[in-house]
Amino acid sequence: MQNDDVIWGIINKSFCSFKVNTKTHKFCRNEFNLTGLCSRVSCPLANSQYATIREENGVCFLYMKTIERAAFPSKLWEKVQLSRNFEKAVAQINENLVFWPNYIRQKCKQRLVKITQYLIRMRKLRLKNTKKLVPLQRKIERRERRREQKALIAARIDNAIEEQLLDRLKQGVYGDIYNFPKLAFDKALHDEEEDTDDEEIEDEKEEDIDAEVEEELEKDLEEEEELERVFVAADDFAESDVSDMEDMAEEDIEESDEEEVDKPGTSRILNKATRSRGTVEIEYEMETEPEPRVKA
């Protein structure tokens, strides 16, 4: 036999597994609870006649429990699907709970209002562009980072770029922009070609001849070096090797004053060979009066 008061006496005084006590309120975690609070009137266990509204996948249902079915727990809760139309749903509630206590009817309608409101909000949010959270996988991230570092080292990007640009220069893509003195330019190119030939392993008899020729050329060209791209900072440019640049167009010297190459990391790499001969370095010292100290 169901005796609500007895049940409530036990649940309230000793232990209820659905009860959660906080500083200000007592909550009921039972899924059929109408208000969510733990009180005599809203406890689904301590009331044999009880009703709730619950929502499943956007559809609201009215659950009702009566004393007659108290002995059949599997058939205890009667489930009525409510219409999608709010007005009609309220009418359905009124119709189903017509002779029920006022409290339950009111609370059911209030709960229906809240549920429909949050369903509307969910639908609106889904239309907006929310950011998709993509979880990162730590191992994979670590692996990829390390592989990238190794790839960077293996890439030797600057060398590759230099080669490409020199190729383009040789093919004449740039036309007449760079005015190198023809003889020196050709000699430098010839020199480079022979170097690359030497590196390849060929089974030809002419190999020896080429080697000899190369040696002679090398002796002649001791002073002139290969055509290559050198990273030179603006200051150094002004000091050294100005004599070598006589033949170059004036525009190159002017442009050297600008900041030259953005290479990440090091700001200048001077080829040792550029200072091979005895270059005279002139240092200028300027005496400036110390600025008068200004007190803030």
């Binding site: 980072r145 790839a151 770029i161 190999e207 050198v230 090797d241 900041e259 953005d262 990440p264």
Partner: protein, 276 residues
Amino acid sequence: MSSESENEVDVKEEKPILEDYNELIRKANKIPVKHKRREEIRKAIRQKKKLKKKDRDSRRKEAEALGEDAPPKQVPHTLESLREKDETMVNHEGSDSEVEEDIKIDEFESYFNQSYVPKVVITSSANPCLKTRLFLKELCQVIPNSTAFHRRQSAVKKMISSSIERGFTDVIVINEHNKEPCSMLVTHLPTGPTAFFRLSNVKLTKHIKRDWREITSHRPEVILNNFNTRLGVTIGRMLGVLFHYDPQFKGRRVATFHNQRDYIFFRHHRLVFLLM
């Protein structure tokens, strides 16, 4: 008996080889006492290094002595040298007729016919952070004829349709993570392909101690290195299409996309040719 004694003598005169030194290291690793173990390991490694150096020097001397007949120089194995050749590798030197045919029909063909000037719009996610904003500005400097545009909350699809109306040809969307730009979505507009890249090691000009104002408005050269497979060719073209097809060599700017082991490294340089 005499033959045995000869063998013994031979064995004693045998030079120690690399295997013996590896054995020493392995033994040293097994000593349970920490300070002793460390010392032994250090000693063994030192000896191994010495042996390797001796080896190297002797090999070099032999090569010099022999001159042209020297055995070929030993080159260490790298990932690049050991990689299995992919079926879809493209032969850049020779003429791969199939590739050429495909290239003529693909979505970028109008660019390579020089029929239009690329116009790029660069955006970010909703509320970009400082780094992303600076990155947008710098990308605008690097890519000619591009505009940075802050989209407040508009959806990407909407933005793309409106940029098609305004005549843009490429869209770049930069997303961020942890207040840094972390990924890039590149779309070629009139129904072109879309690619999604993850960015790492994003360095602005201030990190390289340079000024973004030094990037002039001359149209840069583009270098695409190592895009060797069919997929690589497509991606390379996609990146190249962002830039103008007719570079101004006077400006001496070059933008490089270098592909190494499926990582694409981007660099922007100002260059000078010096005859030394």
